[in-house]
């Protein structure tokens, strides 16, 4: 008995020590961020090396001779720049549509609950448990009947199907915590429900909306397979598809590909930094316990 008590104590002690690491957060952060940053750093460094150096062993942690040739190739001799602009267009459009529609929907069944509104929320999630791989062929058939092959709306509609349900779930957590008293007060003042949404609810949940916007933006940014299947014209392709310009039958051109990757990361990061403050405080609001 006593021995097992000791063992338990030791385990407890170890756990305590492990959790206590958060007292030295800077060290933890530096160690983990180094791991998270390594692939990015590697991409950046690769994009600046000569092809010969890329394939050398031991690998060089800093480029021996800096070259911007890969960037020149990516920006001037390939459609990568246009592809990045396309990606920005798709991501922004999808984000605006998804956020607008999802906010209205969630406002409806979260603030003005009705019988079965929880089940409706589950139906939304239900559409998302279908594996996306099995949606590709039927969606291609469906879109060809609607004349949407090789068009921008096709990409956005499919992305809407993927992101809208999850956005509702994220928003639901935030709207559920919204103080009802404010809605009731607006009602007593004679405000319409849409006015209440725009002038009372949105300003308070705005950070939450921002958070959903970031997630919608980045998920659209990362979409690959469906845009690849549905688009043919180089001038319509997003960056995820465009990057395969450097993958041919006989090899990957790592240099230009790394350069395009670095370029492809920038807009996402800019969007994130732009909305950064809202993402955390937004989700924070969602977590407030009433």
């Amino acid at each position: 008995m006593k021995r097992s008590g000791n063992v338990l104590k030791t385990i407890r002690g170890a756990l305590n020590a492990a959790i206590a690491w958060k007292r030295t957060p800077a060290i933890v952060l530096i160690v983990f961020c180094a791991f998270l940053f390594m692939p990015l750093y590697w991409t950046l460094v690769t994009s600046l090396k000569t092809t010969k150096e890329i394939f050398s062993w031991p690998p060089t942690l800093f480029p021996k001779s800096l070259t911007l040739g890969h960037y020149v190739k990516a920006l001037i001799h390939s459609p990568i720049f246009g592809n990045i602009l396309n990606s920005i267009f798709y991501s922004l459009t999808a984000t605006v549509i998804v956020v607008t529609v999802a906010a209205l929907t969630t406002y409806g069944f979260s603030v003005y609950q009705y019988r079965g509104s929880t089940k409706v929320a589950l139906v939304f999630l239900g559409t998302r448990i279908i594996p996306p791989q099995s949606l590709f062929v039927p969606f291609v058939v469906l879109f060809s009947k609607l004349g949407l092959i090789n068009t921008r709306p096709a990409v956005i509609i499919f992305q809407f199907v993927l992101v809208y349900p999850l956005s509702i779930w994220l928003l639901k957590g935030i709207f559920d915590k919204f103080p009802r008293e404010l809605v009731d007060a607006a009602r007593i003042d004679g405000a319409s429900r849409i006015f209440t949404l725009l002038k009372v609810v949105l300003p308070i949940v705005a950070p939450g909306i921002g958070a959903v916007a970031i997630i919608a933006f980045l998920w659209t940014w990362n979409a690959f397979m469906f845009p690849f299947l549905i688009l043919n014209s180089p001038q319509l392709k997003p960056i995820t598809v465009g990057i395969f310009h450097f993958v041919s039958d006989r090899g990957i051109e790592w240099g230009p590909m790394a350069a395009s990757s670095v370029l492809a990361i920038i807009p996402g990061v800019v969007f994130f930094i732009f909305a950064q403050r809202s993402i955390v405080s937004g989700l924070t609001l969602g977590a407030v316990k009433s």
């Binding site: 957060p25 999802a102 589950l122 791989q133």
Partner: protein, 298 residues
């Protein structure tokens, strides 16, 4: 709703408005997914092989599925892979989130650093990881050899167990930012007084973690874990770039099984069964947990 009638000046009832807000979005969504769902449901009872339509075959495709060795193999790998990568991402996310809450200086900087890798598309991070894990010029081998942890270079993607592990690490890498941001948001809402009170009561770190941190954030944590688990159970993005299911079938993920049936063997009937079974498998796990999350929200 305990609002009095007098106060309610709207023509439409509250629940009516709620339905009105929900229905258009739901209708559009259902209209869009109804076709693929119907397509898969009906094809699962048909023979539609190599683009030649063979008519109604009853439950033949389902029979094939349950007899297929690939089903057991790929479901096992998917389960290992998804639990592993969601678990690892969760663990790292948790640690990072705790550290982010506690850090005093440079929080915004660290937060940006954490989220940076989110902006890399999974297709790309798969290729980048393949490059890093390469036996002949990969960074990983170099780092390990600098610290004298290995004698000769390791082919991470060739060894059966290491290949799965590499896949898990690469996937966790993709989802850590999502996890961190999500969990961190929850942690920041816990008033510091809670911990101060607990400390005065003589609680140790373990107590504080299990009685304050977890219970107050269980919803956020469960949801983020669930989303990542669901994504990784059925989508082979990273494996596709990293190993292509190999060596042999050591990383033959369920999602890869489905993709192969559609695009390689061109057997839409059987692919429909696999996709339905994948939906059912994910649904069986997600639905009860989703109910649980919602109940707590009410």
């Amino acid at each position: 709703m305990s609002q009095s009638e007098r106060m309610n000046k709207y023509k439409l009832s509250d629940s009516g408005f709620g339905i009105l807000c929900t229905v258009p979005g739901l209708a559009v969504l259902l209209a869009l997914v109804a076709y693929p769902i119907g397509y898969n449901l009906v094809l699962s009872f048909m023979s539609y092989k190599r683009l030649v339509f063979g008519g109604f075959v009853g439950f033949q495709n389902y029979g094939w599925f349950f007899r297929s060795k690939d089903f057991y193999l790929s479901w096992r790998i998917s389960a290992l892979y998804s639990l592993g990568s969601a678990g690892l991402a969760f663990l790292v996310g948790m640690i990072l989130a705790q550290a982010l809450t506690a850090v005093r200086r440079g929080r915004a900087f660290f937060r940006t650093l954490v989220v940076l890798s989110w902006a890399i598309p999974p297709v790309l991070s798969g290729l980048i990881w393949k490059w890093i894990l390469n036996k002949d010029m990969g960074l990983m081998n170099y780092v390990l050899s600098v610290f004298s942890l290995i004698d000769s270079n390791v082919a991470f993607l060739v060894n059966t167990n290491l290949a799965l592990l590499s896949g898990i690490v690469a996937t966790a890498y993709v989802y850590v930012p999502f996890m961190t941001v999500f969990i961190n948001a929850g942690l920041e809402t816990i008033p510091p007084e809670f911990y101060e009170v607990a400390e005065m009561e003589g609680a140790d770190e373990f107590h504080k973690f299990t009685f304050i941190t977890v219970p107050l954030n269980i919803k956020q944590m469960l949801f983020s874990f669930l989303v990542v688990w669901m994504f990784t159970f059925r989508t082979p993005d990273v494996f596709f770039a990293l190993t292509g299911g190999g060596p042999g079938k050591a990383t033959y993920h369920a999602g890869l099984f489905l993709v192969n049936l559609i695009y390689r063997y061109i057997d839409f009937g059987k692919a429909a069964v696999v996709s339905i079974m994948l939906t059912v498998s994910v649904g069986l796990v997600v639905t009860p947990l989703a109910f649980y999350i919602f109940r707590r929200a009410d």
